[in-house]
């Protein structure tokens, strides 16, 4: 078994589902002949044909909208938006229809759709190619928002997303598309949605992060370990609906918490996590929960993007503030 990257794990999962479920179709801009601008669909059209792996005209709203018709008719569409920054023309369809068709028809029609999009910063891309706006989608009732952070989780969570009976916005952290390799058996085993993953055990502080930010978060945890501080690292993976219980269980042990995300701070999912921690576990806390996030600025052009994205030092500073409270 060869070790594969996160983007190769996406391809592996798509191929697996295309092979085992005739209802699965994959489409988007450049996903066919070209195999996607990040090669996430590389080779799929050659293997499964132009009937099942399709290049669409260039219109994101159309991509979002046709998936709804396909899904309501029993297909399992997997639609790719080329970059998260270009989803917004399709936001109307995702928000007003994909997320609501089941509810609107009292379960008569439903939308088992996966909307895939590469997201996040750190690859020196042009404007609009680097934002993290997962909170916009997580706010919408009826949607699931899933972010993988390793090749194995990309494979298992994408399988789960495709098999899920409801729409899933599947955001792929492109900064770590090829950052690491991992052996991923193509065994068709899905990972659970709506469920946090504990990536590292620790008893001194809980670090919650997802997607590419986990790279720096895990590095910060290693640095802390060398100082004798054991951090527990939790990857929610499914950001909506959120498994707050795993985070609170961790707080029973650590009583201190830092939430790390690339997205802007105001109204980001860190705010939601902290609000729920306050509601359900205020008495557990020895310190206010700290946020280490992107700033409430426009995502800068790439020369400044590393100042925007949370790095190990900023995470460590947040951890120290939290550990030292109320100093």
């Amino acid at each position: 078994m060869a070790a594969i990257t996160l983007v190769e794990a996406v391809t592996l999962a798509l191929a697996h589902e295309l092979r085992q479920d005739k209802r699965v179709v994959v489409f988007g801009q450049d996903v066919g002949v070209n195999g996607g601008v990040f090669r996430a669909t590389d080779g799929l059209q050659a293997e499964f044909g132009t009937d099942r792996v399709l290049d669409t005209p260039l219109a994101e709203n159309m991509i979002a909208g046709i998936a709804i018709g396909m899904a309501a008719q029993g297909l399992r569409p997997v639609a790719e938006f080329q970059f998260m920054g270009f989803i917004y023309p399709g936001f109307d369809q995702v928000l007003n229809h994909a997320a609501r068709l089941r509810n609107r028809t009292r379960g008569r029609l439903s939308c088992p759709i996966v909307y895939r999009a590469p997201y996040g910063g750190g690859i020196h891309a042009p404007e609009h190619h680097s934002e993290s706006t997962e909170a916009l989608f997580a706010h919408i009732p009826g949607l699931r928002v899933v972010v993988p952070s390793s090749p194995a989780r990309a494979y298992g969570l994408l399988l789960a997303a495709i098999r899920d009976p409801d729409p899933v916005v599947f955001l792929e952290p492109k900064r770590i598309y090829r950052a690491a390799r991992q052996e991923v058996p193509d065994d068709g085993e899905a990972l659970p949605l709506d469920h946090c993953f504990r990536l590292r055990e620790g008893s001194d502080i809980t670090l919650v992060a997802w997607g590419a930010a986990l790279k720096e978060t895990l590095a910060a945890a290693e640095a802390l370990a060398s100082e004798g501080v054991e951090a527990e690292v939790i990857d929610p993976a499914t950001l909506k609906p959120l498994d707050i219980h795993t985070i609170i269980d961790s707080l029973e042990k650590t009583r201190r918490c830092v939430v790390i995300h690339e997205a802007a701070r105001f109204g980001g999912l860190g705010a939601e996590i902290i609000a729920q921690v306050n509601e359900y576990a205020f008495d557990l806390l020895d310190a206010p929960v700290c946020r280490v996030t992107g700033y409430d600025t426009v995502m800068p052009y790439y020369r400044l993007e590393n100042h925007y994205l949370p790095d190990v030092d900023r995470i460590l500073a947040g951890v120290r503030r939290t550990l030292e409270y109320p100093a």
């Binding site: 005739k22 179709v25 009937d51 099942r52 399709l54 669409t56 005209p57 219109a59 709203n61 159309m62 979002a64 909208g65 046709i66 998936a67 709804i68 018709g69 396909m70 899904a71 309501a72 008719q73 029993g74 297909l75 569409p77 023309p89 109307d92 369809q93 007003n96 229809h97 068709l101 089941r102 509810n103 609107r104 028809t105 009292r106 379960g107 008569r108 029609l109 439903s110 009732p141 009826g142 699931r144 899920d164 009976p165 409801d166 709506d194 609906p241 959120l242 498994d243 707050i244 219980h245």
Partner: protein
């Protein structure tokens, strides 16, 4: 200055279809389906649609129904379109659709439930695969394209029989990207889908002239490379003929079609609107003279198929149907408050259990019942 020589590389014509003129006289031999039975059935359904719309507006005015969009004057488009589909074809309606919904087997009680604030109306007991009424403008046209892809896919990959998707929208909808994106994709992918545009001359208060500089809406299909036709939308025979023909061609693999049905909105946009603020009274009067029910009735009378006695009998029968459906609408208890959680996802996520329990026990402020 030298004027360069240009070569004509493309041009287009837009055809218009009409069978009955404003006086109800046949302008050409009627299509084969136009038997007395069929024409009487079309007339009956248009009359029922008008009755439902009329009562729905009155129910709204007396606080028994929410905002309602009447299709007054456009009954031929709804009934003509709806009657052209086979039952297992799929309809993706917009929201001004009384006639088409009745043709699809959606009940009056269901229609009233939708506008009476109850999602259960969208859970059509018949037409289980049809899309629900769609409020955001033009978005349903893309759903129909997706449905059409799925139908063609099921035929190709799974040996299913050929079926067609049909979707409707107003003239204002053709200004939106969804419309252009849908007809464009349908053309590129040669999808079995028919788009019917109810050109009733108004998008709330914005007139057809203020909506587009194109001299017809049908011609927008030319840019997408798909077939098109303009029909007299007050002539139910023309609407039915055009849509049925487009559907059968799509079923045989000939691809999509755009049909512009020209009519006039004789009512306010909805009960929340007051068209007297912008709709010229003279124009409205002229439009009334072209309306579809009296046109078909005149034809039927000339053909010896209709008279005042039969009209009275029909109105009595339809009124009984309406009263029965009204009783059903009124008698239906509101859904349990927790119903808002019932179909949010296939199964309620654990994260929502607490909120569901909260709504189950809390009484909303001001609710004294």
């Amino acid at each position: 200055m030298h004027k360069p020589r240009l070569h004509l590389i493309a041009s287009f014509d837009i055809a218009h279809l009409q069978y009955l003129d404003e006086e109800g006289r046949a302008t050409q031999a009627l299509p084969d389906f136009a038997t007395p039975d069929t024409l009487l059935a079309l007339y009956r359904q248009m009359a029922l649609a008008r009755l439902v719309d009329d009562r729905a507006v009155k129910l709204q005015r007396t606080g028994q129904l929410g905002t309602y969009p009447s299709s007054l004057g456009q009954e031929a488009i709804g009934v003509g379109t709806g009657s052209a589909l086979r039952q297992d074809d799929i309809y993706c309606p917009y929201y001004r659709e009384t006639g088409a919904l009745l043709e699809r087997g959606v009940t009056i009680a269901e229609i009233l439930a939708i506008w009476g604030g109850d999602e259960r109306g969208q859970d059509f007991a018949h037409a289980r695969e049809d899309f629900p009424l769609c409020v955001p403008i033009a978005t349903q046209l893309l759903h129909a394209a997706g449905v059409a892809f799925a139908l063609a896919y099921q035929q190709r990959e799974m040996g299913a029989k050929p079926r067609v998707a049909v979707s409707s929208a107003g003239d204002g909808a053709t200004s939106k990207g969804d419309f252009y994106e849908a007809i464009n994709l349908a053309g590129v992918w040669k999808l079995p889908v028919v788009f019917v545009i109810n050109n009733n001359q108004w998008a709330i208060s914005v007139s057809r002239r203020a909506q587009t500089a194109a001299c017809t809406i049908a011609q927008k299909a030319v840019a997408a490379g798909i077939n098109c036709l303009q029909v007299d939308g007050n002539d139910v025979i023309a609407v039915r003929a055009a849509v049925a023909d487009a559907i059968e061609r799509a079923r045989k693999g000939a691809g999509p079609m755009l049909i512009e049905a020209v009519s006039y909105r004789l009512s306010d946009h909805t009960t929340a609107d007051d068209a007297s603020r912008y709709c010229p009274a003279e124009e409205l009067e002229q439009a009334r003279a072209r309306e579809p029910l009296q046109r078909l009735r005149r034809y039927l009378e000339h053909a010896g198929l209709w008279d005042d006695g039969r009209e009275e009998e029909l109105q009595r029968e339809l009124a009984e149907i309406l009263e029965r459906e009204l009783r059903e609408y009124r008698q239906r208890e509101p859904d349990a408050p927790t119903a808002m959680f019932d179909h949010l996802y296939a199964g309620l996520p654990e994260a929502l259990l607490e909120q569901c329990a909260e709504v189950g026990t809390a009484r909303p402020a001001g609710d004294e019942t």
